[in-house]
Point group: C2
Chain length 413, copies 2
């Protein structure tokens, strides 16, 4: 790889070439997910986004979920949002002559079932930032899974002083990502380490262990999930069969995809109960009673949370569904063996059922579900609505900030 080395070194040499060409719209600043020194994409205080990509030989360049870019005379393609975007963290890809790829100017995150880019409209609050407080560690914990016959990885947050307090045992929160993400989602996109460190330092949350695992698991020999093939997706959505000869680049915006049946092929909920919980209790100084164990997750992870906790109330006493996991009001009387019609049992067994959603993702259904539960006299149902945020990580960072302080408080008294 001498070429690589030479090219990296050359990059240092041509740095002036890069900077000279740049000029920035007033009031804009680099996206916080850009690589060190990368000036584009940018955002402004109002939440507008600004993209600039050098692609002189491309016929068409787009930013996913946004309009087409404009080709400038100097070979750059530019896009400015027509109006401010929703506050928070947005996944995106570049689409270069119909090929969807991560923007090389940003860090990559695992989401949308692949490694993609992110642009963030900053909320400007400190709760999810690294502050001068004691910091826990996030540990990569390798373990063997008998059910799947694979080596798997858990990311495990241990609170500050875990290594010093060798006689102390801690309650455990199992915290899950959403569809198309993995065990790294809460660590990087979700900033759970900083959120927990800050809550614990403020005395709002009790020190706890947080376990993040991969919500995908399949039996040996079963098929992997289908890969998300953007290029075929684009052709599919454009109604195009791949042309025999290169055609002109497609001009139309992609129509909204039809809604397919909701299904996830995963034995994860069973795996968590049978293998992950015992593995964690053996490897870490955990409290193992039901009132010292909680689970929460976002979107698909919220669904997994209800699938795990409701049939296993002997093992869990707290649960949270962030933008997922709630049912419909019409199902209330029949769900989970009718427990919602038994306030005495519910109030005695469930210390917290937390339901949250962003105001930007049609919250009505979840809110109605939470209110219907409360109307039945279920005491520990909490509803949280994240103002102005969508089905994205800002909604879920805020949900963790609101959820974690409600956990394990009696246990400590």
């Amino acid at each position: 790889m001498k070429k690589v080395t030479s090219i990296i070194l050359l990059a240092l040499m041509i740095f002036p070439l890069i900077t000279v060409a740049q000029s920035f719209p007033e009031g804009t600043f680099p996206n916080e997910h850009n690589l060190d020194g990368a000036q584009w994409p940018r955002v402004d205080a109002e939440g507008n986004t600004y993209f600039s990509v050098f692609a002189p030989y491309a016929k068409k360049v787009q930013i996913s979920f946004r309009g087409p870019m404009t080709r400038e005379a100097d070979g750059y393609w530019t896009y400015v949002s027509p109006e401010p975007e929703a506050v928070g963290f947005h996944y995106y890809q570049l689409i270069i002559d119909s090929v969807n790829v991560a923007d090389p100017a940003t860090k990559s995150y695992y989401g949308m079932s692949k490694w993609v880019s992110a642009i963030e409209i900053p909320e400007g609050l400190p709760y999810d930032k690294t502050q001068n407080v004691p910091h826990g560690e996030i540990r990569m914990k390798r373990y063997w899974s008998e059910m799947t016959q694979t080596w798997r990885m858990s990311y495990v947050y241990t609170p500050p002083q875990y290594d010093q307090n060798n006689d102390e045992r801690y309650p455990v929160l199992y915290l899950q990502h959403g569809g198309g993400e993995d065990e790294t989602g809460w660590v990087f996109q979700g900033r759970m380490g900083d959120i927990m460190d800050n809550l614990i330092a403020e005395g709002k949350a009790v020190p706890m262990i947080v376990v993040m695992d991969r919500g995908y698991a399949r039996l040996p020999g079963s098929e992997p999930m289908g890969r998300f093939d953007d290029q075929r997706m684009n052709a599919f959505l454009a109604g195009a069969t791949p042309p025999a000869a290169p055609p002109a680049a497609p001009t139309a915006q992609r129509p909204a995809p039809p809604a397919p049946p909701f299904r996830f092929l995963s034995i994860f909920p069973e795996l968590l109960v049978k293998e992950i919980v015992p593995m964690i209790d053996a490897a870490y100084r955990t409290k193992t009673d039901r009132e010292s164990r909680a689970m929460a997750g976002l979107s698909m992870g919220g669904m997994h949370t209800f699938q795990v906790v409701m049939p296993n109330l002997d093992k869990f006493a707290y649960l949270g569904g962030f933008s997922g996991g709630a049912g419909g009001v019409d199902q209330i009387d029949t769900m989970y063996n009718g427990i919602f019609n038994n306030p005495q049992q519910f109030n005695q067994q469930i210390k917290l059922m937390f339901l949250s959603i962003g105001s930007g993702e049609r919250p009505e259904r979840v809110k109605a579900f939470a209110e219907a539960l409360q109307a039945k006299g279920l005491k520990n149902v909490v509803y949280y609505e994240s103002e102005g945020s969508a089905h994205e990580w800002l909604t879920w960072r805020r949900s963790l900030r609101e959820f974690a302080p409600l956990l394990f408080q009696d246990v400590q008294k």
Copy 2:
């Protein structure tokens, strides 16, 4: 992001559409760095590589460091290596109409100063694979740096049983990545966790803590390193100023870049001695004597290793330069205050000076340097040549496998 959710779900629905179109050259198997279920790129037992990218609207698609791809009638672009590639881990990018990007079919790794793809010609040995042995943990350790006025992250490997043996203290290896990489390089590209777990399980290496940090550090207010801008690089190398109107895609191969002056703007070596070592000794159960502390690194990290260890022999007794850090034979008499001319001092102070390099990256200079040192009566100089591998991670995984067993053996006796 309801769109994202819908699109992910849609992906499941159109999975058949994806699989039907695939057919595979005989004897090939998916690259081990592909995403779960991704069938391309592929490799075969001889070390040939096979790429296939769906890009019906692109004018030209290339695989970096390789020839142009061929456009097939169905909208796929294909490339097959004309001859077997070097064994091991190769970074690569797709180049789509002159835009360099990561291949969305693979995992992304931080290298080449950005998130890029990898294809690997498997060596087929178990030493760097996850095996049924006790596993250590790799911990993300956040710390504040006074010198840079920034929060930084160390990745810290703690050996198996670290949490159980609360009275035991461990020697420490500081292990550095190369240019354009970061503290995650040894964890993911380098597989150091599996390598150390396996060596320790076999009794070849003593249990040790391994600290991996980011070799880039700058004083507050100083400029970030220039970003590696492939698109401008391509225009630069093609001698092209960005055209006013879209030109035909470039046809010529990129000429080899001229060699610029070698420079890295980093205060990392000083930072490691003044801040990282004390932070690690405070946070973990380390042995703090010089004979319990080692440092090694690859390429730029090898240079950092010599910059750190040679002036600080009161703090370190072992060092390793993997594809980097060795000097020229002509400098031997003057380097490091002439210590190479003082066998008595060298043999007493330096328990190990390990120099390694791949046979595929012109090893002559490093080998001559090592032999010249040995010829001077320096006892603890070890030279290792990695057969058939280049300036890439396979050379460095093997180097760690050879280096780690030579560390701290007396200490344990």
